[in-house]
């Protein structure tokens, strides 16, 4: 019988994103979940990691500055004004 060695805490913290992304192989998933079930510190770590993702997700994406937006609009308008541009497409 093959004895599957348990993950250490130090190994587990490297696998949290793999776990959350559903990328762990079935045997590793079992080892991950068994470790979490018996380890308060790693349970806390996993909770904090998930909380971090939520908080990052609550950040508002940076708005385009008015200057950058008007420069980009200028790109669009000069493209649009090009003679010979085929509006209907080919």
């Amino acid at each position: 019988m093959i004895d599957i060695e348990a993950f250490s805490c130090q190994e587990l913290v490297e696998l949290v994103t793999d776990y959350l992304e559903g990328a762990l192989a079935p045997a590793d998933l079992r080892r991950f979940e068994e470790h979490i079930a018996g380890c308060d510190s790693c349970t806390r770590y996993l909770e904090e990691f998930k909380r971090t993702i939520e908080l990052v997700g609550a950040l508002t994406p940076v708005d385009v500055t008015p200057e950058a937006e008007s420069e980009l609009l200028e790109v669009f308008r000069s493209w649009r004004a090009q003679p010979g541009r085929n509006e209907a497409g080919s």
Partner: protein
């Protein structure tokens, strides 16, 4: 009011300002973040984004819809930013983007774990994560800490966490836009998230 890619392309071809402005507003911060993987400053990144739009508009008639419009635009951006970086003699962070595992990086300071040969708990926490008080986690200053932690990341990690966790892209969208393998996308995302979590701990504990 989601428009399909075909509708967006048709509106752009017809010269519709509003459609263009909406796309710019929605994608610009991501475009700049991705360009910053390749060029060193924000203003160079913004120039690369402008050049990208010039190329995108010029090539609109050739957009075939084999990828999404977004993926196509980001691919053009990556090429544009790479070319600009080469022109300026910058060494591209290819290894950082395409083989991040070559440079190992611990998610948590190794000092916080017991040695591998510890008799009772090898590799266990010696300095476990402290509790982070929820009332402070949701405070406005904490958002600042998170934003700063993201800004301080290496550009590739910053781009991946911004696209995935701030902008809410799927892993597939990020992989396609940046031409990353599944594994490398995950490595970069994990490193970024680990550092942001650590910065919260440093700030709150």
């Amino acid at each position: 009011m989601e428009q399909t890619d075909a509708e967006l392309v048709a509106a752009l071809r017809a010269g519709d300002d509003e459609t263009y402005r909406r796309i710019v507003r929605e994608w610009n911060s991501s475009l700049v973040r991705v360009a910053q993987i390749f060029v060193p400053t924000r203003s160079l990144a913004e120039e690369a984004v402008q050049e990208t739009w010039l190329r995108v508009l010029g090539a609109l008639d050739r957009f075939e819809g084999r990828s999404s419009l977004k993926t196509w635009v980001f691919r053009i951006l990556v090429n544009t930013a790479k070319t600009r970086a080469q022109r300026e003699g910058r060494v591209l962070p290819f290894s950082a983007l395409h083989d991040p595992s070559r440079i190992p990086e611990a998610s948590v300071d190794p000092e916080r774990f017991l040695a591998d040969d510890h008799d009772r708990h090898p590799g266990g926490w010696s300095s476990p994560p402290p509790e982070l008080p929820e009332d402070r986690l949701i405070a406005a200053e904490t958002r600042e800490v998170i934003a700063k932690a993201i800004d301080a990341l290496p550009a590739t990690q910053r781009a991946v966490i911004s696209l995935r966790d701030v902008e809410g892209w799927s892993s597939e969208e990020v992989r396609n836009a940046l031409d990353l393998s599944e594994v490398n996308q995950r490595v970069l995302l994990h490193r970024a998230r680990s550092k942001v979590r650590q910065s919260l701990e440093d700030y709150l504990a």
